[in-house]
Symmetry: C2
Subunit: 200 residues, 2 copies
Amino acid sequence: MANSSALPLVELAEQFAKLPGIGMKTAQRLSFFVMNMTDAEAKEFADAIIKAHSTVHCCAVCQNLTDREICPICDDLSRDRSLICVVESPKDVTAFERTNEYKGMYHVLHGLISPIDNITPDKLKIKELLSRISDGTVKEVIMATNPTVEGEATAMYISKLLKPLGVKVTRLAFGLPVGAILEYADEVTLFKALENRNEM
Amino acid sequence: MANSSALPLVELAEQFAKLPGIGMKTAQRLSFFVMNMTDAEAKEFADAIIKAHSTVHCCAVCQNLTDREICPICDDLSRDRSLICVVESPKDVTAFERTNEYKGMYHVLHGLISPIDNITPDKLKIKELLSRISDGTVKEVIMATNPTVEGEATAMYISKLLKPLGVKVTRLAFGLPVGAILEYADEVTLFKALENRNEM
């Protein structure tokens, strides 16, 4: 309970506690912090949630989250359109962009194949990836899913679909520690993993 | 940056990063979590912030946060009105209520005297405390501020104001926390535990 004396405070703490990695005690601390904000600050916070949620959607090309029709990366004519880096989630795009070394395109799957969680290939943005390959611009697809069971399975599955289309399919090098989460990898490790990618 | 492709997402992450104990990477993770909420869930979250912020204020009696005129604790006729426990913040009220042992009233100061941070006594709810003493109902005031420099100074300051009013002023006992390991206790705590030893 945030505070037995104020139901709206308890309700706010319960909202914070729904967020990943935030327990009831931290949630309570956060809601007390919100109470000490000015009216304008609290409104700005609430508006940011609504605005992000209502204006951000998938890019029509790469499926990354964006507030435009086509995201700035897909819209950037200086980037190498012959190369697509396939990732699980938008967080991974951010991680690769932080390396400042990768100048190709991306494709965000929005998940990994996981039959146990009822995530079948048709629930991922795989057909959108295949349609991007069809016009012959793309020469290489880098499978950059996490080095976990689901990540490997998804990479294998997509690789088998892509190879008949005559496109080179590569996999991130195992410079990454197996079992690690891509989003937390440091820039150098991530760059090495990109540089040493192998053909699948 | 939350994601270079979507400004509203970056803005939401910046809002989360303002919260205590939340860095930019966690803020980014939280904003991606919000993106995966349903519209209704996101609205509920934003509304909880606005509602808590707009409806919760200080109780007219004890200054604890509440959404009513008088908080449920002050409104509870079964509680002992001759006893007031003076605390720094609403969080401390919650902590005492969790013990399920204290049945007196509270008074929330909303801060501690700290000249270095420009927090002078007039910025705390001290005059509200003094006015509660005037009608003679209160027999004892427990100073339950933290055992820090500011907490001690505030307890001393208020105690000097209260004593001439003929009210008994007490301070929380210092000693070893239950379950503590003696060898790791700091010197001051150990000295206090020795000094305040009780007959068995």
